[in-house]
Amino acid sequence: MLKIRGLDKHFGPVQALYHVDLDIPPRQVTALCGDNGAGKTVLTKCIAGIYSIDHGEIFWEGRPVHIHNARDSARLGIETVYQDLALADNLDIVQNMFLGRERLRSGLLDEDSMERSAAETLSSLRVTTVKSIRQPVASLSGGQRQSVAVAKAVMWNSKLVLMDEPTAALGVVQTRMVLDLIGRLRDKGLAVMVISHNLNDVFEVADNIAVLYLGRMAVQDKATNFDRQSVVEYMTTGGLGRSSGRPAKEG
């Protein structure tokens, strides 16, 4: 679905990503792991078009593409749920889900139709704990906010959803809620890339695991080929200490 080859990205003197290769297959959940500062967020933002890439190629469904801004990635069907969610607290759930893509009827906002679509999307994801979809986002719990951000991302016929640390700020119950949600996205036929350094979560939802280490892709493979210990090792050493060597996947 999405293929990245040789991606470089630097900020001034800081080289955030070196020659990163990444494959995100369709209808599967790919987990991107790595210690803090490994470059996971930067990689996500490069795919989403927030940052421009220095070198490297991105292939979408086999074709090379150039993503210069958030609209480009949205046009391809890539939606991103950022670490900070970027919801406007003062707006309600419907208003947030349609922010920037409001529907109009004779020049004015078509609230009824937007509310209906938002309700459909939320119930298709079985997000049912919110009391009313007209409540302001400020009044939601962390898990509910995450659900709204995800629902916002999947409403636009998106094919790939990128999620940056969706469970980092959540408690046990709310984490459960979000992991279930990720499973449901896969069941709907979407590709998902989820960033996490909580290995419980990773092993629960991921079909594939990729590990970034100091801006390099240390390894990428099927989740079943990893165990906890090996992932931790890749995260902390980049796999240098491993003798058997599951080589960082090329091509």
């Binding site: 607290d89 208003q95 007209r134 400020a138 980092a168 700020a169 709310q174 931790v232």
Partner: protein
């Protein structure tokens, strides 16, 4: 070496503790009209919100009652509630109301515009100068357009400086205030009017501007007009609410829609009724002043703009979370600059009404502290200084409160010293209300637009 797995789990737990308290705190904060299925639930929700500090218009109404009672008791001969004074109070409030609706554009963004008093005054002075038969003698529509155009351009310059150069709006508009103040005094000096171009004289253009405040509508016509407005608004509320109820969308219970419509009708009857009492001393003087439908028109236009258009939605989004707005593909600088232009434009209307009220423009115009009245009015009405929350209706309600105080001080013939002190205290009280109501709610401002 630290085990990253363990570290990750620890941060998870801390975060879980931090967020655990949020859901309970949030319950009281829900706008009752969003979750209530019946009137009883609505009332309970409303009471819960007041307890949580999210009190809506209730404090405004209570403040209003208290102010009216106090001034009625202490005003000389109890003239405060006489029809003549009440109409005068509406007229004085109208200027503050429109200026507060202007300020709302800046406040919703979390910015402030201190310049609008004198920017509006410049616009109004330009209009008054241009229609003078002794000099240019422009037709009033052109002169009004020229005045408002000045305001829009001034707002555009300030808005551009604030948004493109990332300068604080407080300082830019403070500078704008001084510049506009100087320009205003310059504009007054044109022509043979010794700094006091006024609206007395035989000219349709002068009459028209004078009538903005002092012209009245025939009582019969005003009753018919009020009936039409109430019927149209009531019909709109009723049909859109019941359509939403039928299609299972979030909507207030039917009884609440009826109460809303009833309230609008009562306000209309009271206002039109008061205005149609004879308030003349020697001659019959009655009728609704033009300024009331003018204020209603501004209120309607800006309510639709802010509540029902993409532009309005983007304004609130930027006020609530600029980063979210940016990522949603909203062009922040365009929306924000336009807000400062709309702000100055509306202030132009407000000060034109003021010119009409004063029968001309002179250096007695207290445009500087009218801005403070406007900010206080918006905040008292429920607009937040922190951005993201506010409606044109807040300016109208708060404007009435401020107008009531202003009018009362005027009746008591309070000296300027005391007027300044009271103005300052009122502004302070408004900010305290804003801060307290924000602390009461769990996180920031909540609004149903």
């Amino acid at each position: 070496m630290a085990d990253p797995l363990k570290r990750a789990e620890i941060t998870d737990n801390v975060a879980a503790d931090l967020t655990a308290a949020a859901p309970e705190a949030a319950v009281a904060e829900l706008p009752p009209e969003v979750v209530a299925q019946s009137l009883g639930e609505y009332v309970r929700g409303y009471v819960a919100r007041i307890r949580a500090g999210e009190s809506g218009v209730l404090p405004v109404v209570m403040a209003m009652v208290a102010i009216v009672v106090v001034f009625e008791v202490i005003s000389p001969n109890n003239v405060y509630l006489s029809p003549g004074n009440l109409v005068n109070l509406f007229q004085q409030s109208a200027v503050i109301m429109v200026l507060a609706m202007a300020e709302a554009f800046a406040l919703v963004l979390g910015e402030i515009d201190l310049s609008i008093g004198f920017v509006g005054a410049c616009g109004a002075a330009i209009t008054v100068q241009l229609i003078q038969p002794a000099t240019t003698n422009w037709p009033w529509p052109l002169a009004v357009l020229a005045g408002l155009l000045f305001c829009v351009v001034f707002g555009a310059i300030q808005g551009t400086l604030i948004t493109r150069l990332h300068l604080p709006s407080f300082i830019v508009t403070l500078a704008g205030y001084l510049v506009a103040n100087g320009l205003f005094l310059k504009i007054l000096l044109f022509g043979p009017f010794s700094g006091y171009p006024n609206l007395t004289g035989q000219s349709d253009n002068l009459h028209f501007i004078y009538n903005l405040m002092w012209g009245t509508i025939d009582p019969i016509v005003s009753w018919i007009g009020a009936a039409v407005v109430v019927a149209a608004l009531g019909g709109f509320i009723w049909f859109s609410d019941s359509r939403r109820r039928k299609s299972g969308l979030v909507a207030p219970p039917a009884s609440l829609s009826l109460i809303k419509i009833g309230l609008i009708a009562v306000v209309a009857i009271v206002v039109v009724g008061i205005c149609n009492l004879n308030r003349g001393v020697l001659i019959v003087q009655e009728g609704v002043p033009w300024v009331i439908p003018i204020v209603i028109a501004v209120l309607a236009a800006w309510t639709v703009l802010l509540g029902r258009t993409k532009y309005g939605r983007y304004l609130y989004a930027i006020g609530g979370n600029p980063e979210a707005a940016r990522r949603a593909g909203i062009n922040l600088s365009v929306v924000r600059t336009a807000a400062f232009m709309l702000c100055s434009f509306t202030a132009g209307i407000a000060l034109l009404l003021y010119a009409s009220y004063l029968n001309g423009m002179s250096n007695n115009v207290q445009a500087g502290y009218y801005v403070l009245y406007a900010v206080a009015a918006a905040v008292i009405g429920g607009t937040s200084l922190m951005g993201g929350r506010g409606k044109p209706l807040h300016g109208v309600l708060g404007g009435l409160v401020i107008g009531a105080i202003y009018n009362g001080m005027y009746l008591l013939a309070l000296s300027f010293e005391w007027q300044y002190i009271v103005t300052g205290l009122v502004l302070l009280a408004a900010i305290i209300i804003d801060a307290v109501s924000r602390r009461g709610s769990a996180s920031g401002s909540v609004t149903r637009i």
